[in-house]
């Protein structure tokens, strides 16, 4: 193995082990920042030693042993933490006597709980949304600061600062390392799901930049979602979110054209959808529904996505059912965006005039004032009604509102098509 092979092998180990490692260390030292530093130190040690010694048989246990030893050294130096040191020192000294597999089993006993605690800590409401996203990707996704920065198109220093501040905030607020219970659980879980879905969406329909999709970010979000589904198997909305992401991700390769342009759902070549992910998504949806979660917001969105996934052709889509599901979604989580989507579904099920009636009512909605999809949808409905010049104005407006370069081009193309149609003599239409 060459040195660079070993480095790549260590990266792979880090990706597999870092979350478990950090989670276990937070339980010991009760500080996310310190735990991550300890884990990073262990990684540095691995980078120094493994190129010569080779990757150990049980790399996770190896890293944990190194990090724990560091923790003990640190505490020994710090007289103020004498009590904790005694506890820890005892624990680690005793374990060092034993063989490695036993140590690994001991970590395994707690690892699920610790990971779940770490998820809730990284997504704690005391942190800003950006901080939650950065910290979750860093601590649970095993991404480097640089990778996060590139994914979100912000300078690396900004992400680094966000993470440092987030760790400080968690320490200052004395956020306990625990899984919330009772009434608090629902609210805290929805914060976790929001963070994961935010990451997914940034990959699925980038809000900024020149690429329409960033598949790696979707894969990170899916991985986090699948991990969470194992950690909290009784929570229907977790499965609902996983179902939604699996089904949406199944369209990934169909929604980008040869030169990187977006292809909208109804124009996609359905043969290119990923059947492995469709099947996984439908199974996850069934699980959410079996747990009594059919009317959770994510499960409802997944059910809508499933309607598209089940339709062999766009023409076979059950639009009336989709409109009804949007109606139900509007009941459990009312939002003008949901209404807008219901308008699209109504337009498809009962004709563009029915859709336009609802969409027109949304024009005074302040929450949609700068939202490019409102004029996009309105433009689409107007075009279908043959009101080409009104449609053109809407598409141009939408193009001026989106921040994504690929999407802007698509909208300008549609505006141009409407302009041609408006200019053409009536008999040639």
């Amino acid at each position: 193995m060459t040195a660079s092979d070993t480095h790549r092998a260590i990266e792979a180990v880090w990706r597999i082990e870092s979350a478990r490692l950090i989670a276990g260390l937070v339980r010991m030292v009760r500080d996310v920042g310190l735990a991550e530093d300890l884990a990073q130190d262990a990684l540095v040690t691995a980078l120094e030693r493994w190129p010569e010694s080779g990757v150990p048989d049980n790399p996770g246990a190896w890293l944990m042993a190194i990090a724990k030893r560091r923790a003990v050294d640190l505490f020994r130096r710090d007289k103020l933490l004498a009590r904790k040191h005694e506890e820890l020192g005892h624990e680690v000294d005793a374990r060092q006597e034993r063989v490695v597999p036993e140590l690994d089993d001991a970590i395994d006993d707690h690892v699920g709980d610790d990971l779940l605690r770490l998820v809730f800590t990284a997504c704690h409401p005391v942190l800003s949304r950006e901080a939650r996203v950065a910290l979750t990707l860093r601590l649970l996704g095993g991404l480097t600061t640089d990778e996060i920065a590139r994914a979100f198109l912000v300078p690396e220093a900004t992400v680094a600062q966000r993470i440092v501040r987030a760790k400080r905030t968690l320490a200052e607020a004395r956020v306990p390392f625990e899984v919330p219970r009772g009434a608090e659980l629902a609210a805290r879980l929805s914060s976790v799901l929001e963070v994961i879905y935010l990451v997914f969406n940034e990959g699925y329909a980038a809000t900024a930049g020149d690429d329409w999709v960033r598949p790696a970010l979707c894969e990170d979000a899916l991985r986090l979602g699948r991990i969470l589904a194992e950690l909290a198997p009784e929570e229907p909305e977790v499965h609902g979110l996983v179902a939604l992401m699996e089904i949406q991700a199944s369209r990934m390769r169909a929604r980008v054209g040869p030169s990187g342009e977006p292809i909208l759902l109804l124009d996609q070549d359905r043969a290119r959808w990923d059947h492995v992910l469709v099947r996984r998504g439908l199974a996850a949806l069934a699980r959410a529904e079996a747990l009594g979660g059919a009317y959770g917001p994510y499960a409802l969105q997944a059910a809508i996505a499933a309607c598209h996934a089940r339709a062999r052709t766009a023409a076979e889509t059950e639009w009336a059912r989709i409109a009804a599901l949007y109606g139900a979604l509007g009941q459990v989580s009312p939002s003008p965006v949901v209404e807008l989507n219901r308008g699209v579904a109504l337009g498809m099920a009962f004709g563009p005039a029915a859709g336009l009636e609802l969409v027109d009512a949304l024009r005074s909605e302040p929450a949609l004032a700068g939202y490019h999809l409102l004029p996009t949808v309105r433009g689409d409905l107007l075009a279908k009604l043959g009101r080409a010049s009104e449609a053109r104005a809407e598409f141009e407006r939408a193009a001026s509102l989106t921040r994504n370069g690929r999407e802007r081009q698509l909208l300008l193309d549609r505006a141009a098509a409407c302009a041609r149609e408006a200019a053409a003599p009536a008999e040639s239409r």
Binding site: A9, A12, R15, I16, G112, R223, E230, H275, V276
Partner: protein
């Protein structure tokens, strides 16, 4: 990227019909499968009955010819597979290395071809193949 980890158990090429792994090996393997699932990397997995219950279809001279298993010439045969989604070849190898496999088992790690790996002419030719995959998936 996706990888298939193909399990090649020595001796499976001559295993009698209905041969099953022993309960202890299955328990260890289940624990491993769970670790793949918990890490969010497992997409699919299956175990296969021995070749003695299967058949081979060969095409010498452009005509299909069926041979019932076991196959005297086979040196190694697939016993099962895992389909995983990971970030790198190294990560796939790291996962394969963690398998509680026995002395006479080998895991072959192979990357799944993505549509985008193909040059344009192959993409055109393969379009029908993808459609088959999708329809198969829906009917299953």
């Amino acid at each position: 990227m996706r990888f298939m980890m193909l399990m090649l158990p020595k001796g499976y090429e001559t295993a009698t019909p209905g041969t099953m792994p022993d309960a202890k090996a299955v328990a260890a393997m289940m624990k491993y499968n769970e670790s793949l699932q918990r890490a969010g990397v497992l997409l699919a997995l299956d175990g296969l009955h021995p070749p003695s219950m299967g058949a081979r279809v060969s095409f010498a001279g452009g005509k299909p010819k069926v041979t019932d298993g076991p196959f005297a010439e086979a040196k190694e045969v697939v016993g099962g597979y895992w389909l995983i989604q990971v970030k790198s070849r190294e990560e796939a190898i790291a996962w394969a290395s963690r398998c509680p496999a026995s002395d006479d088992e080998v895991i072959e790690v192979r990357q799944v071809q993505e549509f985008s790996d193909f040059p344009a002419d192959v993409q055109d030719a393969a379009a029908g193949f993808e459609q088959m995959q999708t329809q198969g998936g829906r009917e299953a």
